[in-house]
């Protein structure tokens, strides 16, 4: 087929363009093939059929349309000469399966866009008369309606040919009419209103749905079609429902569409756990009579949005959907879709109301063949249709195989059908009512007849291993026999002092032999022990003693005076009184049952008082019985006792060795200061098993543990990050097994456990694993239905290990220990934790539902802290939040922009569906505009010689670092015939080879050269590291300062810098500068100069330590101008290197280990990565790629270069930089906000809190606030309070939100530019990190918004939103008055 006449190129419609782009991105994948097979069961005139098809190709323009690129813009044109003869293949010998396979394969053939985009063939499939017409068309030129049109035309043409009336066949309208129509629509006056509507609409969307917890990580296009036939009866019921007055809409089809999309929304909500959802739906766009007859791609996909809530019914959702579809139909206008709109959904509902008829009276069955690929942006495409008008609706799910594995692909129709049936059965029921899946089998119940009390186990060890060592404490050892004797003596002593079985006995002790004796003696006596850690403040101790109605408290000399309760009998164990009298007496243990209470542990409560959790012997037995076999090893256990006794995690270490014949080594806490027992445990290296928290582990990360004897490590108490686990696994030898044990105090120590596997556990946290014997874990939704795997829900626990409830808190007990709906008579405990089950069936912990938090392993209620803060008389109201600095994205989850390589861990990075970052996308918008900034080398020369008469010796200073860029500049300037002085800052870390380069170059080029230095360089580095988390900022500023000084002295008018084009965009050419279409380059130059003046005013070590007085004079900036060489020259890397090699003898330094000539550079990168989570080079390098000066691979290689940590630490020591103990990223801090008459000194509040609460519950920050911000529901808006950063908290001024339009506008702009979540109108711009670049951006944005020209420096003059806002208002008022 050739093009015989002149070609008329036509543009692509919006929908075509997006498919064309999609196909270009996936060039060898048939993701847009729309293939059908039409099985015609009867006599067919094959010749006429082929003739009809040739006519069809002649008459339908899209079948002759091909695509090409003209000046890299895609265009389409129609071939005039297009003969196509349909082949008939004889398949009569093949069986059904072979034929189907052949069709499937054929449907996957890739189309060449420059040739006609269809493929068709007629198969004769039977000796009898039976044919399959195969027609495959690229989506670019067709859609579902179009397919039915083509089928109908083919049939009609066949008829006409048969009748000999081909000449009467009416003209088929041309698709080009629609192309014109669509283009006109964009010019329509409504288009602005429509664009605006969609923009606003999409603003409410938060997160793209992740069904069953999965997403399409690798943008894979593989997809499988799953068929769900609804059957005649269900279809009928749906249609009946659709007739109801309160259900129906304009037409039956619209109503059915509403019912299906309502069901799909509810299904998605149930399998994602997400509320804000969007579903795309194609709008047919065939509004006119002719368009209804035109084959071609008309559809355009727009989203329908809904926000579902747990109290929704099907009807409430449908009501909203009816409005939504109404709105959708109003605003889904031809040509109005945008990439942004297309990105807003990943699920599509395609309701097709077209259908095929029989072929000329011959029975026909159609089949839509799936090419096994689909647009990777759409993880679910749900097609609903009844193509052959059979009265049975079929739902087809095209499921992305990266998101849905084989098992899930079968679950989707099953779950969807349950949701849909819920609608048919009762439209007024809750959307959570239909149960999607049955309850997991309860893990096997263990025989309770096996019950042994802890004491029975212990006594068995005394009998079997009397002389084995049971306890070690410093240099003392105690055998099981020794221990038992002492326990008996104490028990007798206690009994003499009135202890009875079932009494509650508080143990207010250090970790000591006495503590272990007390625990065992109390249990032997049939009583209950209450461990109280020695660091609990007296008030709280007193509360526990009273609340528990303890009969007596066992304590020691040091702690006794803290006890103020007179009524309680207090036994001091320090003086050994209990051993003296009862040397040889044996105590006979009181037998206990499973129901008897073993211990009570007090945990943080929401009321400001701790609550006592009641643990029975049966529950304790269940845990220990499981633990002793699960953790069993060949050797006996040697555990350290080194964690707080008031913490239920410590139960494991306390009992496990003693009941198994192992050894317990006691590490006493320090009386003052932090508990460093862990260090002792590790240093002594005597234990082979240890139980601790992830926070403990963070302390030993990086230490060398190769020789540690620890083989069993049980981690519990808080979320355990995989990175940490991996680090620990690597630090220890291979023998170490790490277990993650989950369990609230209320379910006895641990009830879900996993063994860490570093190859398998790569998600950000180590999964908590599987429930232990005797316990079951359930993940339920608000209606107590089990949620599908991957979906988060509330974690409930049930089984033998459950606590009996809370002491004296029957109401709370009832709300937390609820009836188990799956097992009558059983209870289940609502943990308040969110969890889900991963694809391996393991439970994953996802955080807290409520106010309870875990801080360094301690569980605490924020309301507990608030209640205690409120006790201070100066405070009216409070809100305490846990401030968690942004978590670094684990390295294996970082993705890089597909164009520039910008990593996703760079702050606020956003990627589109093609993996292109927001910076690249934005830059495309002003790239051309930005070209205006660049000039030619000729212009450069003119500028540099313009001052010749005035400068005695030199035309310019050339900054020479010794790198390739600056060397090239120097040589070029000399080439231009200029008189140049070369300047190098010797910062003390230039590599030897780089220095050799410099010396060789200046000699070879015969140019004068000076090294600048300053004695303060190291201080400047340290300051730069603190301020900017890198070394370069400090270094650059020093170079600018020193070179300006020299230029002034020597009357040199210009300093030429070697900044790359990428660096221009990184540091000064912000997007905002190019917003004005008629931008004048002079305005940009002025703004940049203004910014440079401000730059030198910024407070830092350079300003403090160097003589910067020259910058106080405006004249300095006139006398010495900075010229960026690469603004005038755009040399490629290749050209540059060639030039350098030939002309200058430049050699790439190899002694820095990196692509730099500075040895301290990697220290900066190390610190930046640690504090900010990403390399400081990732952003500037991305610009180099965008400028075409680096390739994406080169930058990725450089960003990911390995850092020599040893060398980094050495340089840190050398320059005197103190590394912070934990990166900013890992910090967790409690912040107490309060209102009151006036601000109270933080030291006073801290003192007050320490009297009430243990140290770990005392907030690190106290912040006075005029009013607590509230949410729409009138609750304290904690998310606002959580979003202040630490420098904002450090500010003296109270937090006040913006007020009025102007303050709000300025606040929005500050937040965007400074990347703040929240800003107080009294926050200081500079303290928040606002430097000159930020000033350019903020000012430009403000000027753009209110169409003013405020100068740059005003932001430093009025550095708060409140002041700046007032300034704006004043200016505007003045202007207004002048105008009047």
């Amino acid at each position: 087929m050739t093009d015989s006449t002149e070609t008329t190129y036509m543009p692509l419609t919006g929908s075509q363009l997006s498919l064309w782009t999609g196909q270009k991105l996936n060039p060898n994948v048939p993701l847009y093939n729309m293939a059908h097979s039409f099985e015609i069961n009867g006599a067919l005139d094959v010749e006429n059929f082929a003739l009809a098809f040739s006519e069809l190709v002649k008459r339908v323009d899209v079948l002759r349309t091909v695509f090409t690129e003209v000046d890299s813009i895609p265009k389409q044109f129609t071939l005039t000469d297009a003969d196509f003869s349909l082949k008939t293949l004889d398949f009569s010998a093949k069986d059904e399966l072979d034929t189907q396979n052949w069709l499937k394969q054929r449907s996957k053939e890739i189309f060449d866009l420059s040739k006609p985009l269809f493929d068709s063939v007629l198969l004769k499939v039977d000796e009898e008369e039976r044919y399959i017409w195969f027609l495959n068309i690229h989506h670019l030129i067709t859609d579902a309606t179009s397919s039915t049109l083509l089928y109908a035309y083919q049939m009609q043409l066949y008829q006409h040919i048969g009748n000999g009336t081909l000449n009467d066949f009416p003209t088929i309208p041309s698709y080009s009419d629609y192309i014109k129509f669509e283009a006109e629509q964009k010019e329509n006056k409504l288009s602005a209103v429509i664009g605006d509507h969609w923009k606003k609409k999409l603003a409410s969307l938060t997160k793209i749905p992740e069904p069953y917890g999965n997403k399409n990580f690798d943008a894979n296009s593989k997809s499988e079609r799953i068929r769900l036939n609804l059957g005649a009866e269900r279809t009928k019921k749906l249609k009946t429902l659709a007739q109801q007055a309160d259900v129906r809409s304009w037409t039956l089809d619209l109503t059915l569409f509403n019912l299906f999309i309502t069901s799909l929304f509810i299904y998605l909500h149930r399998v994602t756990g997400q509320n804000n959802l969007a579903i795309g739906a194609p709008s047919h766009n065939r509004t006119t009579k002719n368009f209804k007859k035109t084959p071609g791609l008309f559809i355009e996909v727009f989203p329908i949005l809904d926000e579902l809530a747990s109290n929704d019914t099907y009807r409430t959702v449908l009501e909203r959907i009816k409005n939504e579809t109404g709105e959708y139909l109003r605003y889904a206008q031809p040509g109005m879709s945008t990439p942004e709109i297309s990105r807003s959904f990943n699920v599509v509902l395609n309701y097709i109301n077209a259908s095929y008829t029989d072929f000329e009276g011959i029975h026909m069955e159609s089949q839509w063949l799936h090419p096994d690929h689909c647009d990777p942006a759409h993880i679910i495409r749900c097609h609903v249709y009844d193509m052959d008008a059979s009265g049975e609706v079929t739902v087809y799910f095209d499921l992305n195989t990266s998101v849905f594995d084989e098992r899930l692909r079968n679950k989707v129709p099953e779950h969807f059908l349950k949701v849909l049936d819920g609608l048919i059965v009762d439209i007024d029921q809750s959307i959570h009512q239909p149960r999607l899946m049955e309850v997991l089998p309860i893990s096997k119940e263990i025989e309770t007849s096996d019950f042994h009390s802890v004491i029975e186990w212990f006594e068995a060890q005394v009998e079997n291993n009397p002389s084995e060592i049971a306890i070690r404490l410093k240099n003392h050892t105690y055998t099981f026999d020794d221990l038992n004797t002492k326990v008996d003596q104490l028990a007798i002593h206690l009994s003499e002092n009135g202890l009875k079985s079932n009494a509650k006995i508080a143990l207010y002790l250090d970790r000591s032999l006495e503590y272990i004796l007390s625990v065992l003696a109390v249990l032997k006596s049939g009583a209950t022990f209450i461990p109280i850690s020695s660091d609990i403040p007296p008030q709280r101790v007193s509360y526990i003693l009273e609340d528990s109605r303890s009969l007596m408290v066992l304590t020691n000399d040091r702690l006794q005076h803290n006890i103020s309760n007179d009524s309680i009998s207090c036994i001091n164990l320090s003086n050994n009184s209990y051993t003296a009298d009862n040397q040889n007496t044996e105590f006979s243990s009181v037998s206990t049952t499973e129901q008897d209470l073993a211990y009570m542990i007090y945990t943080s409560g929401s009321t400001g008082n701790p609550k006592g959790v009641l643990i029975s012997h049966g529950a304790l037995f269940n845990y220990l019985n499981w633990a002793k076999s699960f953790y069993a090893r060949d050797e006996k256990f040697v555990f350290p006792l080194f964690t707080s006794i008031g913490f239920d995690l410590t139960i494991t270490s306390t009992f496990l060795p003693l009941i198994t014949g192992g050894e317990l080594i006691i590490y006493k806490e320090a009386e003052q200061g932090p508990d460093i027992s862990l260090m002792e445990v590790l240093a002594q290296n005597k234990v082979n098993a240890i139980k601790l928290t992830p926070s403990h582990l963070a302390l030993i990360k990086g230490a060398d543990m190769q020789h540690s004897k620890i083989e069993t490590m049980i981690v519990g108490g808080e979320d355990f990050k995989s990175n940490l686990a991996k680090g620990v696994q690597e630090a220890f030898n291979d023998k170490l097994s790490i277990y993650n044990e989950y369990g609230p105090t209320e379910a006895t120590v641990g009830c879900i456990v996993s063994k860490f596997n570093k190859d398998r556990h790569t998600t950000s946290s180590v999964p908590i694993g599987f429930p232990i014997a005797g316990m079951t874990a359930l993940i339920l939704d608000s209606k107590l239905n089990p949620v599908p795997e991957g979906v988060h829900g509330d974690l409930y626990l049930t089984g033998i290990g459950l606590a009996n409830g809370y002491e004296n808190l029957s109401e709370l007990t009832r709300t937390k220990f609820v009836d188990n709906p799956f097992v009558s008579g059983a209870k289940m405990y609502k943990t308040g934790d969110l969890a889900r089950i991963n694809s391996d069936g393991e439970f994953e912990y996802l955080g807290r539902v409520d106010e309870q938090i875990k801080l360094r392993g301690f569980r605490l209620e924020l309301t507990d802290i608030e209640a205690n803060l409120l006790k201070h008389e100066g405070i009216d109201n409070t809100a305490v939040v846990l401030l968690e600095s942004k978590k670094a994205i684990p390295e294996n989850e970082v993705v890089n922009c597909s164009e520039c390589g910008l990593p996703s861990n760079y702050p606020n990075t956003d990627f589109d569906e093609n993996g292109i970052c927001h910076v690249c996308i934005a830059f495309k918008g002003y790239k051309e505009q930005a070209q205006k900034y660049f000039k030619t080398e000729e212009e450069l020369r003119k500028i540099l010689i313009s001052q010749r008469g005035k400068s005695p010796n030199y035309d310019c200073i050339s900054l020479l670092s010794g790198g390739k860029d600056s060397t090239y500049i120097l040589a070029q300037l000399i080439n231009m015939g200029l008189r140049v002085l070369a300047f190098t800052l010797d910062n003390g870390y230039i590599s030897d080879q780089a220095k050799a380069n410099i010396d060789r170059i200046v000699t070879k080029l015969n140019v004068d050269h000076i090294y600048g230095t300053t004695e303060y360089m190291n201080k400047i580095f340290v300051d730069s590291l603190h301020r900017h988390q890198n070394v370069c900022n400090g270094c650059f500023k020093t170079i600018y300062t020193l070179s300006t000084q020299i230029a002034l002295e020597k009357q040199i008018p210009f300093v030429v810098t070697g900044l790359s084009r990428g660096q221009f965009f990184e540091t000064r050419l912000t997007e905002e500068l190019f917003w004005d279409e008629n931008i004048d380059v002079k305005t940009i130059d002025d703004t940049i100069l203004e910014a440079r003046k401000l730059y030198h005013q910024e407070e830092d070590a350079v300003k403090e330590l160097l003589d910067v007085s020259i910058f106080d004079y405006e004249d300095t900036f006139n006398k010495v101008q900075f010229i960026d060489f690469y603004r005038y020259s755009d040399v490629s890397l290749e050209q540059m290197l060639k030039f350098l090699k030939e002309k200058v003898d430049w050699v790439r330094p190899t002694d820095t280990g990196r692509s730099t000539n500075c040895l301290i550079n990697q220290l900066g990168i190390y610190v930046h990565k640690k504090e900010k989570g990403y390399s400081n080079y990732s952003f500037p390098y991305s610009w180099d790629v965008r400028m075409g000066h680096k390739t994406r691979n080169e930058t990725l290689e450089e960003i990911n270069e390995v850092i020599d940590e040893k060398e980094v630490k050495r340089i840190m020591l050398e320059i005197g930089y103190q590394e912070s103990s934990e990166g900013e990223l890992e910090q967790q801090k409690l912040v107490g906000y309060y209102t009151g008459k006036k601000k109270i000194p933080s030291t006073e509040l801290a003192k007050h809190m320490k009297q009430e609460l243990p140290e770990y519950m005392v907030p690190s920050y106290f912040k006075f606030i005029e009013e607590l911000p509230l949410t729409k529901n009138g609750k304290v808006d904690k998310s606002t309070l959580k979003s202040l950063n630490t420098s904002q908290l450090d500010m003296e001024a109270p937090y006040v939100g913006p007020n009025g339009d102007i303050e709000e506008l300025v606040a929005e702009i500050w937040k965007e530019v400074l990347r703040l979540k929240q800003v107080s109108v009294h926050d200081n711009f500079i303290v928040l990190g606002g430097h000159s670049l930020a000033a350019i951006r903020v000012t430009a944005r403000i000027n753009e918004e209110i169409e003013m020209k405020f100068p740059l420096n005003k932001i430093f003059e009025f550095p708060t939103i409140s002041e700046y806002g007032a300034y704006i208002e004043e200016t505007l008022e003045k202007l207004l008055n002048e105008q009047n």
Partner: protein, 79 residues
């Protein structure tokens, strides 16, 4: 009012492809002149052109069957 609506339907929604003039009494949905997409576009036009809002409960066939119905509905709404 009728003329304005007829003009919009004919020119903007139907691209002047009607074989006969659209009458104020023609059944818009029933005669297949408009489908629900066309109907909602007509409502958007009405809302913008006559600066009014058509609430969901008013979007019933009784108000929108013909151009005449729509005019009546809008007139009654104005009161």
């Amino acid at each position: 009012m009728n003329e304005l609506l007829i003009k919009y339907i004919q020119e903007q929604l139907l691209n002047n492809e009607m074989e006969e003039e659209l009458e104020a009494q023609d059944d818009l949905l029933g005669d297949g002149i408009l489908d629900s997409l066309g109907m909602m576009k007509l409502i958007l036009y009405i809302e913008l052109e006559f600066d009014t809002k058509v609430p969901p409960q008013d979007m019933v066939i009784e108000n929108f069957m013909t151009v005449q119905h729509i005019s009546d509905y809008l007139a009654q709404k104005k009161k």
